[in-house]
Amino acid sequence: MTGWDGFVFSFFNARVAADYAPKIVEGLLLTIWLALLVVLSGLALGLVLAVVRAAGIRVLNWAIIFTVDVFRALPPLVLIVLIYFGLPAAGLDLSGFGATWLALTLVLMAFAEEIFWAGICAVPKGQWEAGRALGLRFLPTLRRIVLPQAIRIAVPPLTNRTIAITKGTALGSVVAVSEILGAAQSGMSFSGNPTPLTLGAIAYLILFLPVVIAGRWVETRFRWKR
């Protein structure tokens, strides 16, 4: 075999690709499902924490800031491993999927809280005062006046951060989740050929390349005017 044929045989092997493509597609669906769950729960929790922080109860705010700092400082993989191998000892047994979901949700929650909070702070104080002067209570002022403006400010940084954390679903392969990378790695060890890995890389590109490009567009479209 010449070098080129060897390369094609290893990385673009049609027979191996046909054998393992269904597994990779299953992995792709699992990745999408996991990513959706993480995005929904992470953003929701982050928003809740930011709203609680806006209420300005000092002890609660310290607790929120500390929690956010913890999950911003810890590598996601460390969290996944800690939850997966550690929590069973505390009587809480999570699957690899559950552990990956929980870890990435906590990380996204922390980053989203920071970004939402920054957005809330960026809304001029006069907006709050005007809302209250019109007779709205704290929560309606927040919901109808401040949050719509804050979220608009938060969209570009939030988009990029969400994409980066969603890519962390690949870390699930370390705790035996058969998402794209997990499926590709087991395909590679069964077939003794790295073609499944090529398929996996292509699956990630199909999934994330449009998101990365859209993220760049969102960033220019929603940019906070300087």
Partner: protein, 224 residues
């Protein structure tokens, strides 16, 4: 409660595991010290090149950067470590980690610095050229200092992410902090070493997170 302490805060195991965790921490710091400067230099080169007028230079570079931003770093690392040997190219664990991190972090730094360079008004470099500065002098004395200042919070944030990224080197058996903690955990069948590793990451990176919070708040306050 006793079970919990036994499983997470086991003093005996903590004492026994601390020497190898310390070795791991040293490796983590070395990995970060290798990756951050290399990634920054690669990102700077990519960013300056993609600021060129010619679209034949700019578009392939944007494609390159987007490609490596779309691929999860762990996928890239596994490909370099376990895939490339099939093509007769065995980089070893450290080589795969070095190349994978370089490509990944280089792409992220490039994207940030590109935004910074774009934020410097064109009049700045035109004025500098008109004053007789050479092209490289314009970059080094006029454009880059302002570009870096404008995106400083993003640069710090990405550097923090790079240090956290080094933990995935554990997957290809580079003996850094998380790898050593998992070794200790699998030998003792106890989660204390992993909690200690988490604590070490937190102590190492908390100052960085605090600094970043301040920078970001100041940036938002400045924009109002």
């Amino acid at each position: 409660m006793n079970n919990f302490i036994e499983a997470f805060l086991n003093v005996e195991i903590a004492v026994a595991a601390s020497p190898i965790l310390w070795m791991g921490l040293v490796q983590t710091v070395l990995l970060a010290l290798m990756t951050v400067p290399l990634g920054m230099i690669a990102g700077l080169i990519l960013a300056v090149l993609s600021a060129q007028e010619s679209r034949w230079v700019r578009w392939p570079l944007i494609g390159f950067v987007d490609f490596f931003r779309a691929i999860p770093p762990l996928v890239l690392l596994i490909f370099l470590y376990a895939g490339l040997p099939f093509a007769g190219l065995d980089l070893g664990a450290w080589g795969a980690v070095a190349l994978g991190f370089l490509l990944n972090t280089g792409a992220y730094y490039a994207e940030i610095l590109r935004a910074g360079i774009e934020s410097v008004p064109k009049g700045q470099s035109e004025a500098a050229r008109a004053l007789g500065l050479r092209r490289w002098q314009v970059w080094i004395f006029i454009v880059l200092p302002q570009a870096v200042r404008n995106v400083l919070p993003d640069l710090v944030s990405n550097t923090l992410e790079v240090v956290k990224l080094t933990s995935i080197a554990s997957v290809v058996a580079v003996p850094e902090l998380l790898f050593q903690a998992r070794q200790a955990q699998s030998v003792t069948y106890n989660a204390t070493p992993i909690l200690m590793a988490a604590l070490a990451y937190f102590i190492l990176l908390w100052p960085c997170v605090r600094l970043l919070s301040r920078l970001e708040n100041r940036q938002i306050a400045g924009r109002r």
